[in-house]
């Protein structure tokens, strides 16, 4: 290999991965702060505000606290699996970031092209679905290996819940894939530009199914049964402390960012500003003077933030479902709804082709 090939094939991706991992890890830390701030606002109380100006250093203090905590392994736990489980849950979460298109226009640095996404594969959507579903292994193993009944119950719940909700989650995406004709994440966004509308207009049912299943997939209220603190103390996390616990939390928050990013890409036009084909609204891309990718990242981040806000809002509003009710909702309501959505989308496409 020439030096040039080495740089293009190894160094450039490595830099991109480092940047994405670094930025997302920081975002995760601040997402926890955002959650506490928004919940505090909704619940008429003060959120953290002692560490740093208006609490802005709180995530760092939390991180340090978790790092220097004693690393406990409970008696009778399966040591190797107990250590492996948090890693198993955090790796797939971060791996899913590989195909998220944060913007389109590549940066040029020292003559090398840096696309604002790590890679674009033609099966990007399938990649995300498959890699995120691996996260359930971490939870099951974590619950099982900690030799605690509460953990076991929590991990069994999560196994059932995450496997069940993967079905409507996958099916709800198919409508978008039919409209765009591609499974590449960049391709889907471009298809929305070509169609002249974001796909949430024709696929609102799909978006609804996706959103509900995604909340369940990421174990957030009202579907946070695996860690239902009122019943199972903390579910599969009960016996974890310190950095191992932090890994589980990181996996949860990265997963939130991933599903929100996927929703943004598939239904909300990805990095595009509203009405991307209307020239009169070009001023919305106000960061274009610096670099077009910055506008893209801005809009992408804004949409992801709005979805994350809804997540937190749900947590502030709803009680928790019961296990059997959760299963009923998934299999009896979301799954048929997603199937109907696919059939209707298909029929409409056929009629359009004929006429």
């Amino acid at each position: 290999m020439t030096t040039d090939e080495v740089i293009v094939n190894l160094v450039v991706p490595a830099i991109k991965i480092a940047v994405v991992l670094g930025v997302v890890s920081l975002l995760v830390a601040y997402l926890t702060l955002l959650e506490r701030k928004v919940l505090g606002f909704m619940q008429l109380r003060l959120a953290p505000r002692r560490v740093g100006p208006s609490g802005l250093l709180q995530p760092i203090a939390d991180g340090i606290k978790l790092l220097i905590k004693e690393d406990l392994v409970p008696d009778g736990a399966d040591r190797s699996l107990f250590v492996l489980a948090p890693i198993l849950s955090v790796i797939p979460a971060f791996a899913a970031l590989a195909v998220l298109p944060f913007a389109a226009a590549p940066f040029e640095i020292l003559g090398y092209k840096f696309t604002p996404f790590i890679t674009d594969v033609n099966i990007g959507v399938l990649y995300i679905l498959s890699i995120t579903s691996l996260g359930v292994y971490g939870i099951i193993l974590g619950g099982w290996s900690s030799n605690s009944k509460y953990s076991l119950l929590g991990s069994l719940r999560s196994a059932a819940q995450m496997v069940s909700y993967e079905v409507p989650l996958g099916l709800s995406i198919i409508g978008v894939l039919m409209l765009s004709g591609t499974a590449s994440m960049v391709g889907i966004v471009e298809a929305q530009r070509a169609a002249g509308m974001w796909f949430f207009l024709p696929q609102i049912v799909g978006l609804f199914c996706y959103f509900v299943s995604a909340v369940a997939e990421t174990n957030r209220l009202p579907f946070d049964l695996p860690e239902a603190e009122a019943e199972l103390v903390a579910g599969y996390q009960t016996e974890y402390a310190g950095m191992k616990f932090a890994f589980f939390m990181m996996a949860e928050y990265v997963n939130m960012i991933v599903v929100a990013s996927l929703a943004t890409t598939l239904w909300l036009g990805g990095w595009m500003r509203p009405f991307p084909n209307v020239e009169a609204l070009a001023f919305l891309d106000f960061l274009n003077w610096a670099h077009p990718a910055l506008s893209g990242i801005f809009w992408f981040a804004l949409k992801v933030f709005l979805i994350l806000y809804v997540y937190i809002w749900l947590r502030g509003t709803f009680p928790r479902y019961r296990y059997d009710q959760l299963m009923r909702l998934g299999w009896k309501w979301l799954l048929p709804l997603a199937l109907v959505n696919i059939v209707v989308t298909g029929l409409v496409l056929i009629i359009k082709q004929q006429g």
Partner: protein, 366 residues
């Protein structure tokens, strides 16, 4: 090769939603509950025995610590039992003030119930809303007597000091504002599909069973039996004010939720009337001795506390201290039926049932 077995799981005494130090030995078939055995006594302080070594006026602070969430009605019940025993007539103004404070205390106790019950089921925000209003009531208590939780507000024969200036206006402000706040809680819960699914049909107990288990208070009234000591044997000033006894037929957790919400509205109605009618005059019966010696005999007096009937049984041998005390604890009696109420439910229903029974372990264990 394969076999299934029941899972024995121990819930509590350290558990986020057992409301104190209740321990439940659960037998689970998967997630389904086969058996629930409540194990109590972790907070037993021997209050009844302690009371036998204290003169009559020293016992009310112990009563505060029975049901510390509803301490005013505990005090009221004990003092009325002593007054009955010694034949003391309480002035009318003191009776009205006792009524107002007991009802404020009922509201604050129900607010704790609603907040923690909703928190157990997963609705976090309601908890903070409820505690905002409870804070206002506790501030009123603090203005009246200096304490917030274990208040010890009443004295034998009446109350110690009259209401402080501005207290009546403060209470009026609170009861004017409170109905709107109940609507806020209802907005978050009453029509919430998840709340309905989690509470309707959960923890069912029929009227017959409820009576057989000796249940009282909102637990009994939500099963359709409209028994309330405030109506059947009025004490304090309850015969002077108009109020309804809310009942529901369904006997499930949702019915009890409705009953308690309505009770808060009725309490507000009682306070409003009592404030309007509040007479002047003395606040304490005259010529009382600190070391009183009631005539030998026994007395049993009941009051309607926030959790149900609180009974106070005192035996006097003519001495300075009670010869025997027994306190009937509604939490204890209501908790006994937890096995019936949660049989066949799921693990998540257990926390709903504990929340709906509204136990205070200090009351239960004494």
């Amino acid at each position: 090769m394969f076999r299934t077995e029941m899972m024995e799981i121990n819930m509590g005494p350290q558990h986020p939603s057992t409301h104190g130090v209740l321990r439940l030995a659960l037998t689970l078939d998967g997630e389904t509950i086969v058996e629930v055995k409540p194990i109590i006594g972790y907070l037993h302080r021997g209050v009844e025995k302690l009371a036998e070594h204290k003169i009559y006026v020293m016992v009310p602070p112990l009563c505060d610590r029975l049901d510390y969430v509803g301490s005013a009605s505990q005090n009221l019940g004990y003092l009325q039992a002593v007054e009955k025993l010694a034949g003391i007539e309480v002035p009318e103004r003191a009776r009205y003030i006792r009524t107002i404070i007991a009802e404020l205390n009922r509201i604050s106790s129900h607010l704790v119930w609603l907040g923690t019950h909703a928190l157990d089921i997963g609705a976090m925000t309601v908890f903070f809303y409820c505690f905002r209003e409870r804070e206002m009531i506790l501030d009123l208590f603090e203005a009246f007597c200096g304490a917030r939780l274990t208040t010890n507000m009443f004295r034998v024969g009446g109350i110690l000091e009259d209401l402080p200036p501005g207290w009546i206006e403060g209470t009026r402000r609170f009861i004017d504002l409170f109905p709107g706040r109940i609507k806020e809680y209802e907005g978050l819960l009453s029509a919430n599909r998840i709340w309905l699914e989690r509470t309707k049909g959960v923890g069912y107990i029929s009227a017959e069973e409820a009576v057989n288990w000796g249940m009282t208070g909102p637990m009994l009234r939500a099963s359709g039996v409209g028994y309330d000591v405030r109506k059947t044997e009025p004490y304090a000033a309850y015969d002077q004010v108009e109020f309804d006894i809310p009942t529901e037929k369904a006997g499930d957790t949702y019915a009890r939720y409705l009953v308690r919400l309505e009770e808060m509205r009725q309490s507000e109605r009682i306070i409003r009337q009592a404030l309007d009618k509040l007479p002047g005059g003395e606040i304490r019966a005259p010529k009382l001795k600190t070391r009183m010696k009631p005539p030998a005999g026994e007395v049993y007096h009941e009051v309607e506390g926030p959790r149900g009937v609180q009974g106070f049984y005192l035996v006097s041998d003519g001495g300075e201290t009670p010869y025997r005390c027994h306190f009937r604890a509604p939490s204890f009696v209501n908790l006994a039926a937890i096995g019936v109420m949660s049989r066949g439910g799921l693990v998540a229903d257990i926390v709903a049932v504990i929340g709906t029974i509204d136990i205070v372990l200090g009351d239960c264990d004494r």
